[in-house]
């Protein structure tokens, strides 16, 4: 199973084993990772699952869709590497993925 590491705004890292086909958000919620709220349950309708994708992984996770960009407008401190974690699907290619959670969610 691919491993995902979440680093919170204070620098604490937490790693989980994620099922292929699930989303980066779902694995955070399932494992009680702090810093991700996911109010809308993954429908790309709330922007409370905002993460920063580690630069080394940006190419593999890809760019946000136009719908996701619209939703990111409601995030806090949105950067070039910002994504909504409910829109990142776990694949074998993403084994080792590192994402950081922002200081606060929208």
């Amino acid at each position: 199973m691919p491993k995902i590491t979440y680093i919170d705004s204070a620098g604490t890292a937490r790693s989980v084993n994620a099922e292929v086909g699930s989303t980066v958000m779902e694995n955070a919620i399932k494992n009680g990772i702090p810093g991700i709220e996911a109010e809308c349950g993954g429908a790309c309708a709330c922007a409370t699952c905002h993460v920063y994708v580690d630069e080394a992984w940006r190419e593999k996770t890809g760019e946000p869709s136009p719908m996701e960009e619209d939703m990111l407008d409601f995030g806090y401190d949105v950067r070039a590497n910002s994504r909504l974690s409910c829109q990142i699907k776990v694949t074998e290619d993403l084994d080792g993925l590192v994402v950081r959670t922002p200081e606060r969610q929208a």
Binding site: C40, A43, D73, F74, A106
Partner: protein, 342 residues
Amino acid sequence: MTEPIKTDILIIGAGPIGLFAVFELGLLDMKTHLIDILDKPGGQCAELYPDKPIYDIPGVPKCTGASLVDSLMAQIKPFGPVFHLTEMVQSIERIGEPAFRITTDAGKIFETKVVVIAAGGGSFQPKRPPIPGIEAYEDKSVHYAVRKMDVFKGKRILIVGGGDSALDWTLNLAPLASHLTLVHRRQEFRAAPDSVNKMLALAKDGKIDFVLGQVSAVEGEGGQLKTAIVKRNDGSSVAIACEAMLPFFGLTMKLGPVANWGLKLDNDLIVVDTEKFETSAPGIFAIGDINTYPGKLKLILCGFHEAALMAQKAHRYVFPDKKLTFQYTTSSTSLQKKLGVT
């Protein structure tokens, strides 16, 4: 005083559950009025996820938020529900056993035999942007809506956001303001292309400033805003002097006035029984996402079930002398007549 509007049933909230309640009540001959703070029926389905798929409506393998609302509207059409949109129910006052007087923020007054609260996650209200300390300025110099344009005359205004509200108010307030800055985090907007072009023309002519970035902090004193710090996309920061700020970050659901109606609550949800879905106040029912009981699931299908059982008890309040007989829409000519299908 305005003449009260009289009805059998007043439904607070025109989300999917409020809409389906019209159907179940209508089959039992009860007339309904619905009030919702949104400018359209459909609640969360219409406001939060109109284009997203739903897979768990019984008998409907796939629909979208918007198509579900359209179908519900078609289904309840025969019963002629009356909608009062962009109005918030403020108070409920008991005037009989049961009978209630309901007042909205638009000053409308209703007199109804039964109240059905289908208020979902609460009323939709503007979202507070995640800017530290912004609360201290709200209603004084930070506004989430424009009630009177005059308030902004001659002021230095900062508008934040990239949707239709942000663009519309930029265009409307630009001629009034002493200076206006629009801040949005990217070149693309979620607004009518025509408004975007007009805004860009104003910026080109130097009539307004358009800054690409995000407000990261606000500074001021005693609720009066003086400066907003905008973080540009290249990482640099700029301080923008402003006396008023209008952030447009979409809508979120807040419980709102529901909390003040004297009903028994548990964690901001209305406690009901599971036989009739009646609240602690006889004659007031609560169905859909707003209620709670052992085993409650916030699903549309659960709300539909609650609406059907609620209607049985409501019938006893509205027509105390009439006896209810159980009928199927498939076979009952009297039900089919009400639906206009015979």
